[in-house]
Symmetry: C2
Subunit: 440 residues, 2 copies
């Protein structure tokens, strides 16, 4: 058996503790699969005195975590500190500049600085691996880079944020409204005290930008991800979707199209969708994540599992370490950084699809006429329109009734025009909620 | 860019044609991901004159496919001939003995001779890869070996035969009986003229033996897989399962247990199960395959996609070729052959579970009393018992009525005892059908 792979671990939160427990618990089987032992040499975190339920006395303690990169007894640095910049980024840069391998679970850092870090890694012939940054324990980065490597991947999408999925499936099961379920999730520790990153879709957008670069072999472009979260969803939306045969899920969607000049363009969006109950994503409940990828030979693959938590995330981190121990380094984004393609954002107006729209309508004569006239004038064809009985009951406002609409397939630009026509309407008490319907 | 990887292709059926089309269509992106081109050098098949819809004139033709292993211009042989022995096995042995890499989609050969071939491969420091042998385009071998490498895998199971799943989901959708749906599937080319391997579960058993060796790091043991197919299922079973909230799926199940002496033992079975409609496998329809694997840190992962067909299978074959091109060889069964553990078959009598049992009962007084007495005497606790109205209607025999039973959780041995008590009973017109209920 070869020499052990010696690692330094920065960040001893939930995931860091999980990585230590995993490496200790499964040490022998890891050594068999990696054909080397994986040994933790040094650890670092902000607070040395905190009790983490694991025995750290066997490992050297580094007060300055960025110094880990310089330790001669370390082959790989595992960065579990978090944050797109700050000490995590400094540590990452130092590690790769020192020619050591880096494994990270940090989606924000990879989404913002992944290309710079990948270039550093290539220059140093070091590994940069981030399986744990997307969809927790699901080996989706590996599956896209290697398992689907023979395919031109056309589209990749999925449920990328467990907190949102937990909230949506709880709203579904209980009929309760968003704020109420969020508060409960926070009390139980399923949602952060500041839930913005999760519920506004930013966390899913980080993951989506990473997935699309790996899947399409294009330069990561986090800025172009349009992001809408789940704050504005009502129990009434979920109930209405259910009547229509759909569930509501926050979907990160990356799609490719080729424009008139032959240039490949990307659509990258995070937003709640209506998902038909026959679609495999409809049955993904609770904090589970799932990713669908479509290749030109393999067709549609689905990968599903726990999207967060210490065990699943540690599983992905250590899988990366085993790959490194086996000498499987590979290009971080599936092909070398210099060969990653440009893929500007697509014009989305011509994309064809159907949508669900919910209007909060002032309860007075002529409101429906105004809405339907705007649809007609914008060229939106209505498949169904439902106005539910009692004002205020669902909307929480006695002067408001909810109107739910489903459109026929049509260009997105038409819905945009209709919304523009209605934007100053005194009929509407707040802007409409537009949710695309996921195609089969 | 390095030298091209030069391959020889034996077998030009559906999958062989797919591999050629894939390598030609996606040549550039494969070269980017593999950092080398993959080039077909030579091909072989039984019949040279057959039109396969691909242009073979660019490739050398070998009349004797086993001679491909000796060609100095070939790095990798792709074996798509099929059959556990015969020319496929000769070619595989010759290839590895010559120190060349072997990629195969041949589940029967791997299930029967995989350990011998893996030992040959290790001796020659050559690759033996068989992603396409299990679950078509789904990268499940890679996911078990690498994506879940950090985990002690406790259980792996799934829907491994697309033909059976197509038949069962069509029976479900149409209410038609097995023979009728099978005949239609044969007419449409979804089932073979001789469907034995598929519908009797042998194909799934080959795949299960391979999955369990890779997942558990144990020596493959195809002989110990107990196998029951779907021939005896009736539309009435599917209808009754539906009433109870279940779908019927043919499941290959590999589970581990540790006996009193600390020896790990395996349960490997292919048989139809009742799957609760909340379980992700319940919604796997048509020819789709899906595999669930449970690890001690990652929890439950699900992998789903097309289980057969030229495109998906070619996708898996070429993914293996790209791994080889990248220098990622690895142990065929996740750890070296010499280190694979022994795992004798478990005694299953103490396993706890519930089951659905269907009795074909002669329509005469006392039959139910005899069945229920046998259950009581054997210690089987009955959760529900349904005798459906009209004799003959569902059973196709005017003197027979169907009795459907669901048991409470209990040891398997109790059900075995009850069946033994009833085996000579004149009350039963044929042996009962016992289907385990998959736990959540």
């Amino acid at each position: 058996m070869s020499e052990p792979l010696r690692i330094a671990l920065a960040g001893l939160g939930t995931v860091g503790g999980g990585v230590i427990r995993l490496i200790e618990t499964n040490a022998d089987l890891i050594a068999r699969r990696a054909e080397r032992r994986i040994e933790i040499v040094a650890v670092a975190a902000r607070d040395r005195s905190k009790d983490r339920g694991v025995d750290l006395s066997r490992y050297a303690w580094e007060d300055d975590m960025t110094a880990m990169a310089a330790r001669p007894d370390v082959d790989v640095v595992v960065e579990l500190v978090g944050g797109s910049d700050g000490p995590a980024l400094t540590l990452a840069r130092n590690t790769l500049a020192a020619g050591k391998d880096l494994v990270t679970a940090n989606k924000a850092m990879i989404a913002h600085h992944g290309l710079e870090l990948a270039a550093l890694a290539e220059k140093a012939d070091a590994a940069l691996k981030f399986e744990a940054a997307v969809a927790g324990g699901i080996p989706v980065i590996k599956s896209l880079k290697e398992g689907m490597a023979a395919n031109d991947i056309k589209r990749v999408y999925g449920i990328l944020n467990g907190t949102c999925n937990y909230i949506l499936s709880t709203m579904e099961d209980t009929g309760r409204d968003f704020a109420d379920v969020l508060a409960e999730a926070q009390a139980k520790g399923y949602a952060e005290a500041d839930p913005t990153f999760d519920i506004d879709g930013i966390d899913a957008a980080h993951k989506l930008a990473i997935l699309s670069s790996v899947a399409f072999g294009t330069r990561m472009d986090f800025k172009s991800v349009t992001t809408r979260g789940i704050r504005r969803l009502l129990a009434a939306d979920i109930a209405q979707a259910d009547v229509l045969g759909y569930y509501i899920r926050l979907i990160g969607m990356a799609d490719t199209e080729v424009d008139a000049s032959g240039q490949r363009r990307l659509v990258q969006r995070v937003q709640p969708h209506l998902v038909h109950r026959d679609h495999p994503l409809a049955h993904v409940d609770g904090a589970t994540n799932a990713v669908v990828a479509e290749g030109n030979f393999v067709g549609r693959l689905l990968f599903q599992g726990a999207g967060a938590g210490d065990g699943p995330t540690a599983s992905a981190v250590v899988a990366d370490l085993i790959d490194i121990a086996r000498g499987d380094i590979g290009a971080p984004f599936s092909i070398p950084v210099a060969e990653l393609g440009e893929a500007p954002a697509a014009e989305t107006g011509d994309r064809i699809g159907s949508a669900y729209i919910r209007f909060n309508v002032a309860d007075r004569p002529g409101a429906l006429a105004e809405i339907t006239a705007a649809m007609r004038d914008a060229g939106v064809s209505i498949e169904s329109l439902i106005q539910k009985g009692t004002p205020g009951l669902a909307a929480g406002d006695a002067d408001t009734v909810l109107v739910h609409m489903v459109t026929h397939d049509g260009p997105e630009s038409a819905i945009g025009r209709a919304m523009a026509l209605l934007c100053d309407s005194p009929c509407l008490t707040e802007p409409p909620v537009v949710l695309p319907i996921l195609d089969e």
